[in-house]
């Protein structure tokens, strides 16, 4: 009996505790403290109404933003320029490096206004349900009450959007062709008279970060910069403008540092999560025209899927190369209490109280103890879209722009098709995602070609892959044949499916590598296979070199002895300051100090320009995972929990052998990374990209000093 019990514990309990980081004396306390915290921070979230007709709305495929004509650029007030005071509306900054300094042409100029507008996640009717899945009452903006069982159309949600859309515009960039974007804040204007609700920056600030462009601090959009220079505030205020210059030049001019997919998002101090959730997301694929390597033309270079159309204004679109911005949201049910530590900053909302007038609009909470996850999954701003695909290969650029949710994607087929989770008898958190394919079977593989840092050295065949907040993964999907080699036929249906269950923002509850739940298969995009189409692209084989990794120094282990160490951990420093690094909250004015390293030193987070260093990022435990983001340059992962992964990554993180700008930290993990600090000097930050952690102090300031 005892033996059986111990065997069961060893087989189930030990891996569970280990995965949570609780398999130690301190871990046991962390587990109990977490459980106590759960009781003290009682949080109730609404259940979104059930979308009745999923997979009817077309997947929006973004088109490239067109640049300003030279004439329009000259009419900007004032026009952009390299001189002192020409970088922002405060007239107190200058671009650190103008493109000509590096022998690059003058930048292509774009204009993006930050606007208050509306967005609809679906055109489908919805059925209001409660957390048990039962039909429930609903409301409208005039406070009319509709009885349970009444089908409704959703009101549009108020967004703060780049050019007023969600997701915002897509800039197709190219190495060697700098781009300058003039961001202007118009959040004080509300021409449609929209209810701004109770989230987003309360003083309508914005601060745009090109994640993870190799940019100067004044164009990086980070709070350490914003507080100490430029606006000297959390972000730029209404009527402000700022020119952000993206040189589209790899770090150090090094070809191996070229990347392939950025995105830009708000980074206002303390309100990044709320502003991103409110819509401030844009896309920035970057192509490499050198030798046609990866220029969006499948007839050249690596022959990755893409058919390029050049426009007269210098911009271009690439067919069969589609970004997928993944985002989860939760819609107000009108009966859930709005109460938050920021209530006083939204006096018009008169919280704490319920808001039936906001029924069906996006619901947010700035400071939830468990993180924030939505129960409706959207792609490119649309819930459960359908994409008619040609029968050929496609390149998809995945981006997780969710606040906290992590996904694991798999390509699946289903004979019976999607069923609502409600109809299958699920309730509460099991309703997340709204739909399931109970008979789902994997039917295709992904060929992963790129991560956050650009092209991999070699493509990797993946049955599934995880996508953490802010991470990018690029894959090729071949819609001509199934996993077993059988050809597809016109009319076949394949689903992009999320198989990671995540009931709160802490970490997954089930995934392929942890307590897999075979019943959790949530279809997110329906692909309908159409006619054959010409396809000159080539699926890269396992030995086809895509892009070399930047070399590691032979003595990196010696360098690691003098590493800088940063431990991310949940703590409580009072009020809303809950997420800390090295035991302290984010100080935007001063660079952080490392924990004591093996040489007994605790250096400040300062790096001379042109230097390289080893940094260690540790997860301090508590059963949370952290996607930890380092601004400005990509890193290579050296070790994970002490295991050298430079040649053979661990099965849990197969693409550790790449360049990344986010360290995916499982509970209790410690990761050593190697990276450079080149080209620019000045203030930058590093932070957890679970945006609620970032907004509640899990960020540190660091700086590049003159050599």
């Amino acid at each position: 009996m005892l033996g059986t019990g111990l065997a069961t514990f060893g087989g189930v309990g030990v891996p569970y505790l280990s995965a949570k980081g609780w398999l130690s004396a301190d871990g046991a306390f962390a587990a109990v403290s977490t459980a106590i915290g759960d009781q003290l921070f009682t949080e109730v979230f609404p259940t979104s109404p059930l979308i009745l007709d999923p997979f009817v709305d077309e997947l929006p495929v973004p088109e490239a933003l067109r640049p300003l004509s030279p004439d329009a650029v000259s009419k900007l007030k004032p026009p952009p320029g390299p001189g002192p005071g020409e970088q922002n509306s405060y007239r107190n900054e200058q671009h650190q490096i103008w493109p000509s300094t590096l022998g690059l042409p003058d930048p292509i100029v774009y204009e993006i206004d930050v606007l208050v507008r509306t967005h609809s996640f679906t055109s489908s009717q919805v059925l209001p349900i409660d957390n048990a899945g039962n039909p429930t009452v609903s409301f409208d903006a005039d406070l009319n009450r509709y009885p349970a069982g009444t089908k409704r159309s959703l009101p549009p949600s108020t967004i703060y959007g780049f050019n007023g859309t969600f997701p915002g515009p897509m800039i197709n960039a190219e190495y060697g062709k700098p781009a300058l974007v003039r961001f202007s804040n118009h959040l004080d204007e509300n021409p449609m008279g929209l209810d701004r609700q109770d989230f987003g920056s309360p003083v309508w600030q914005f601060l745009t970060h090109l994640h993870n462009g190799h940019t100067a601090p004044e164009s990086d959009g980070n709070p350490h910069y914003a507080i100490t220079a430029g606006p000297h505030a959390h972000g730029f205020f209404p009527t402000d403008w700022v020119d952000q210059l993206y040189l589209n030049h790899p770090a150090g001019g090094d070809e191996t540092e070229k990347q392939s997919f950025f995105w830009f998002h708000d980074h206002t101090m303390d309100f990044t999560g709320a502003n991103v959730y409110k819509g401030m997301v844009g896309l920035y694929p970057i192509y490499d025209p050198k030798d046609g390597t990866d220029m969006g033309d499948e007839r050249q270079g690596l022959r990755l899927p893409g058919v390029r159309t050049n426009h007269a204004d210098g911009s271009f679109d690439v067919k069969y190369d589609i970004p997928l911005a993944i985002y989860d949201c939760r819609l107000d049910d009108g009966v859930t209490l709005h109460h938050d530590i920021h209530d006083d900053q939204f006096p018009d909302a008169h919280n704490p109280r319920t808001h039936p007038e906001w029924w069906g609009m996006t619901f947010h909470r700035h400071f939830p103890n468990h993180g924030f996850v939505g129960d409706i999954f959207t792609v490119n701003g649309t819930a459960y879209p359908v994409l008619q695909v040609d029968r050929r290969k496609y390149r998809f650029r995945f981006l997780d722009c969710s606040v906290s949710r992590i996904y694991e994607f798999k390509m699946m087929s289903s004979t019976k098709g999607p069923k609502s989770a409600v109809s299958l008898g699920y309730s509460d958190d099991e309703l997340d995602g709204q739909y399931r394919i109970p008979d789902g079977q994997q039917c295709m593989q992904f060929t992963e070609i790129a991560t956050d840092g650009g092209l991999l050295p070699f493509a990797i065949k993946r049955d599934s892959f995880e996508l953490w907040p802010a991470k990018r993964r690029e894959v090729i999907i071949d819609f001509t044949r199934y996993l077993d080699g059988h050809p597809t036929t016109k009319g076949d249906v394949v689903y992009l499916t999320n198989i990671m269950k995540m009931e709160d923002g802490r970490m997954w509850d089930s995934s392929s590598r942890f307590s897999f739940d075979p019943d959790y298969m949530v279809p997110m995009v329906k692909f309908v296979i159409g006619d054959d189409a010409p396809d000159a692209s080539v699926l890269p084989g396992p030995n086809k070199k895509l892009r070399d990794l930047p070399p590691l120094p032979a003595d990196w282990r010696t360098l690691a002895q003098d590493r800088k160490i940063f431990e991310v951990k949940r703590g409580s420093a009072g009020g809303e300051i809950e997420w800390l690094i090295n035991g302290v909250q984010f100080d935007p004015e001063n660079v952080a100090r490392s924990l004591k390293n093996p040489q007994g030193k605790s250096p400040l987070a300062l790096q001379p320009r042109g230097s390289f260093a080893v940094w260690e990022i540790r997860n301090g435990g508590g059963g949370w995972v952290h996607p930890f983001h380092l601004h400005m340059e990509e890193h290579r992962t050296l070790t994970r929990n002490g295991v050298d992964v430079t040649k053979n990554p661990l099965p849990s993180h197969p693409d550790d052998r790449s360049r990344e700008d986010l360290v995916a930290l499982d509970p209790g993990e410690s990761v050593l990374v190697y990276r450079g600090f080149r080209t620019f000097v000045g203030p930058y930050v590093a932070h957890c990209h679970n945006l609620l952690h970032e907004d509640h102090a899990m960020m540190f300031a660091w700086s590049i000093t003159p050599p």
Partner: protein
């Protein structure tokens, strides 16, 4: 009040030790949930240290509770209901100590957290009203934490001290020194093999049977 020579140390010490370890577990765990960050590292070591430091407080509480029980029920042997009553007094006394320590912890944490909030105000968009709300939220959280911690300490004291008494044969010896309730001659008279065979339900019969065949003690 009982003089120090009348304290049933052999009963009080184990009870106080178990109560200190059990209650401090919750104090440290609650601190990990809502305490000031600078006080939440290495919780296991902190638990061991804290338990040792506060052991005298628990010992005083347990001695006082046992003294009250002794006044009420006499030195023993105690009937089962009296054992339960005495045990409850000990549990309540130990939990009271835990509550006080939780409250002290909360005050220390609150002061540290307010210092942190003050430091963060230099850059925040948080206005005076916003900070006032954060102060209120912090107080409410600490008060709730003290309440929850006290309940958890109460439950763990009931369980742990109950198990301890059960392991001691369901007896609670309130007498000072070695054996006012269970005289030395009684213990001597019990053959060792018989003691080993005794099951808890029969424990109270042994002194009586042993006493019949043994002369009274001389001193």
């Amino acid at each position: 009040m009982t003089g120090i020579r009348q304290v049933p140390w052999r009963t009080a010490l184990p009870l106080a030790l178990v109560a200190a370890l059990g209650s401090e577990f919750w104090v440290v765990a609650v601190r990990g949930a809502v305490g000031a960050t600078e006080r939440t590292s290495e919780p296991f070591a902190q638990w061991v240290l804290d338990s040792a430091v506060v052991l005298p407080a628990y010992l005083v509480a347990v001695v006082v509770a046992l003294s009250v029980a002794r006044r009420r029920y006499g030195p023993g042997p105690l009937a089962p209901r009296q054992v339960v009553g005495s045990l409850l007094m000990v549990v309540l006394a130990a939990t009271l100590v835990a509550a006080v320590l939780l409250a002290v912890d909360a005050v220390v944490d609150y002061r540290l957290q307010m210092q942190n909030l003050g430091r963060s105000s230099a850059h925040g968009s948080c206005t005076d009203a916003c900070f006032a709300q954060q102060h209120r939220e912090t107080i409410v959280l600490q008060v709730k934490a003290v309440g929850l911690g006290t309940v958890l300490a109460l439950v763990s004291n009931v369980v742990l001290l109950g198990v301890l008494v059960a392991l001691r044969g369901g007896r609670l010896d309130l007498s000072a020194g070695r054996s006012a309730a269970y005289p030395a001659h009684a213990r001597v008279a019990v053959p060792r093999h018989e003691v080993l065979r005794v099951v808890p339900g029969r424990v109270r019969e042994r002194p009586h049977r042993a006493h019949e065949g043994v002369p009274p003690p001389s001193g």
